[in-house]
């Protein structure tokens, strides 16, 4: 992403202790992640919402509790100075092989048109648990959540029209982007010009140990 240039300090400023503007753009990329304005404001307003805060490659990820996902996003969207009013992406990650609980991470990528920064919100959910839908906040979440449901089987509570979108409506093989779904699917495939079918076998090379 864009390089952050440290503000040049004049001699007067260096002599005195300069309080860093808590709302400046630098605060979003401060090495101390607790000084990230969104983290700070969220901790003050909803102390029990944040589960974890992660920074990697200048990208800030806030893990929040599943039930509070919509409230957190509404807070960040309506906050006057944070103003994360643009939903860039809404998807999920199946964490099956990386941890035991919870199984999925629902990922919402927010963008602030005012401050020009991104923020990733993650909410962990287990299979069968419902995640609050973001459609009441952004209409753009409609198809993105349908796609997440289609690919992962995550049910969004409060979604007006939750059904498959990319796969066929009568697709009965489960949810393809789950990690326990084989690359070629479960279904047997026919051998041409014969009556036989061949079971699909798991051919995925996992690449472990490379």
């Amino acid at each position: 992403m864009s390089e952050e240039v440290a503000p040049e300090l004049t001699t007067e400023e260096t002599s005195a202790v300069v309080p860093v503007d808590p709302w400046s753009r630098d605060a979003y990329f401060d090495p101390d992640i607790e000084r990230h304005p969104a983290v700070r404001e969220l901790r003050a307003a909803m102390p029990d919402a944040i589960v974890d805060v992660v920074r990697f490659r200048d990208e800030t990820t806030i893990h929040v509790r599943r039930e509070l996902l919509r409230e957190v996003c509404a807070f960040l969207r309506d906050h006057e100075q944070l103003s994360f009013n643009f939903l860039t992406d809404h998807t999920a990650v199946d964490m099956l092989r990386l941890r035991s609980e919870p199984r999925f991470d629902v990922v919402a990528l927010l963008y602030s048109l005012k401050n020009r920064v991104r923020l990733r919100i993650k909410a962990g959910c287990n299979d069968g648990e419902q995640v609050p839908s973001l459609v009441p906040l952004w209409n753009g979440a409609n198809w993105l959540e349908r796609e997440t449901f289609d690919m992962f089987g995550i049910v969004f509570e409060g979604h007006p029209n939750l059904k498959r979108i990319l796969l066929a409506d009568d697709w009965d093989e489960g949810f393809p982007l789950r990690k326990d779904y084989p690359l070629r699917g479960w279904r047997e495939f026919p051998v041409y010009n014969t009556e036989r079918t061949v079971p699909r076998v798991r051919t995925r090379w996992t690449g472990r140990g490379v």
Partner: protein, 426 residues
């Protein structure tokens, strides 16, 4: 069907979904009487309709000629690019991105390699960045030419498609001279370009820069003040700025409504912060404004190419960040020395393992924000590969703008969103 290990609660939702077996081209599938004697027709448009730009199917509910409800049905071209990406090594994912939005393949490639480079922290040489920008802006012009040709063809200006595809051929020839392929170019590599720039290439691009402004003026002369074109596009498909943000629109659909969000300016990537260009904005958010925005974007792309070409034409610095372990070893010497051959072979066969983490990188694609999201678990395969396709998100606005529009305007509305079904369905 074999045993599925997980039994989700979602089963009941799936069972209640309606049957999708009714397909056809412009077939009336249902007709019912509404209150007051009005008839409601259900009209099925696509998936083989020429104006749906591929295999989009739109189910329209009509009251006379007015659309009361619109339901786009997508997924006919779904190939599971994200699932495939998770079973390929990082460098092997890049060709898949060509096949999502196949009319602007270099721009797709750039987003993908930028995400991988961010994940691996690879620094790309400046000269390669400039060439990436040149190729992306050429692909922007090529994509807009396809859009303009087909959009005008849908509305009734047949000759536009002939002119636009004529100029697009020149750009495809430039791509062919650069990398050997015309459509699925797969030209970007992690860390820059591993092959040299062909000596005649700057000349080809300069020829294109010379002739194109004149040709584009021809298109503008044919359309911009054309009464038929204005009657079909002005005041049609109006998207308010609030609705544009709420529907997460990006690209010309967002800027046509007057929201200034261009990733090249908002969060400059590559070398866009060193180039001088403007971001056109619309005022009314209708089809005509989006047409003007895209026309102006083509002119700005020419400016960008001109500046970038002036900077790097005489440059002779390296094109590839060979010092990084995440970059393909040099081709040079692979056919003469065993060590070079082995290094090259091992990299290609085994790939590389980025650090554990995740990265999202987005480019200003001709159609909007094209984002790539990689989650790495420290192995040679991406744990999660996500394509944020701009036209998939943009297409969701179609029911909103089609509500209350006339049936004849549907083709204009589909055209103005600028979709490529390979990218919508992935």
């Amino acid at each position: 069907m074999s045993v599925i290990t997980d039994k989700p609660d979602a089963d009941s939702i799936l069972e209640s979904s309606e049957d999708a077996s009714k397909t056809g081209t412009l077939t009336i599938t249902d007709e019912q009487m509404l209150e007051g004697g009005a008839r409601q027709l259900t009209l099925n448009m696509g998936p083989q309709h020429p104006s749906t730009h591929g295999v989009l199917r739109v189910i329209l509910k009509l009251d006379g000629e007015v659309i009361t409800d619109c339901d786009p049905v997508i997924g006919y071209l779904h190939r599971g690019v994200e699932k495939l990406g998770e079973s390929h090594r990082y460098a092997q994912v890049i060709p898949w991105t060509d096949r999502t939005d196949y009319v602007a393949a270099p721009a797709n490639n750039l987003g993908c390699v930028m995400a991988i480079e961010k994940l691996c922290d690879v620094e790309v040489p400046e000269r390669a960045e400039y060439w990436r920008v040149i190729m992306c802006e050429l692909s922007r012009i090529a994509s807009h030419l396809v859009w303009l040709g087909t959009h005008a063809l849908d509305i009734g200006a047949l000759s536009m498609s002939l002119y636009c595809f004529r100029e697009r051929e020149i750009i495809l020839d430039i791509f062919e001279a650069f990398c050997g392929a015309r459509l699925t170019t797969n030209m970007m590599e992690i860390g820059g370009f591993s092959r040299p720039i062909p000596p005649g290439l700057p000349g080809l691009i300069r020829d294109f820069l010379k002739i194109f402004p004149e040709r584009q003026q021809e298109y503008a002369d044919l359309l911009s003040a054309n009464p038929i074109w204005m009657a079909r596009t002005k005041g049609v498909g109006v998207i308010s700025p609030e609705a544009a943000i709420s529907y997460s629109l990006t690209g010309a659909c967002l800027r046509g409504s007057g929201i200034n969000y261009d990733i090249r300016k908002a969060m400059p990537y590559s070398v866009y912060d060193r180039l001088d260009f403007e971001v056109p904005l619309g005022q009314h958010g209708d089809v005509y404004d989006r047409y003007l925005v895209r026309m102006e974007e083509m002119r700005q792309s020419l400016r960008i190419i001109q500046q970038a070409l002036d900077t790097v034409e005489k440059d002779d610095t390296p094109l590839m960040a060979y010092e990084s372990a995440y970059v393909i070893p040099p081709h040079k010497g692979t056919m003469t020395t065993a060590e070079d051959m082995q290094r090259h072979f091992v990299w290609v066969i085994k790939g590389f393992s980025p650090p554990v983490g995740e990265a999202y990188a987005a480019v200003e694609h001709p159609k909007g924000e094209n984002g790539y999201y990689f989650v790495s678990d420290g192995t040679a395969l991406p744990y999660r590969f996500r394509v944020r396709a701009p036209d998939f998100v943009n297409l969701a606005v179609l029911p909103h703008i089609a509500q209350g529009a006339m049936l004849a305007d549907v083709v204009a509305l589909i055209g103005t969103i600028d979709i490529v079904l390979g990218s919508v369905d992935r």
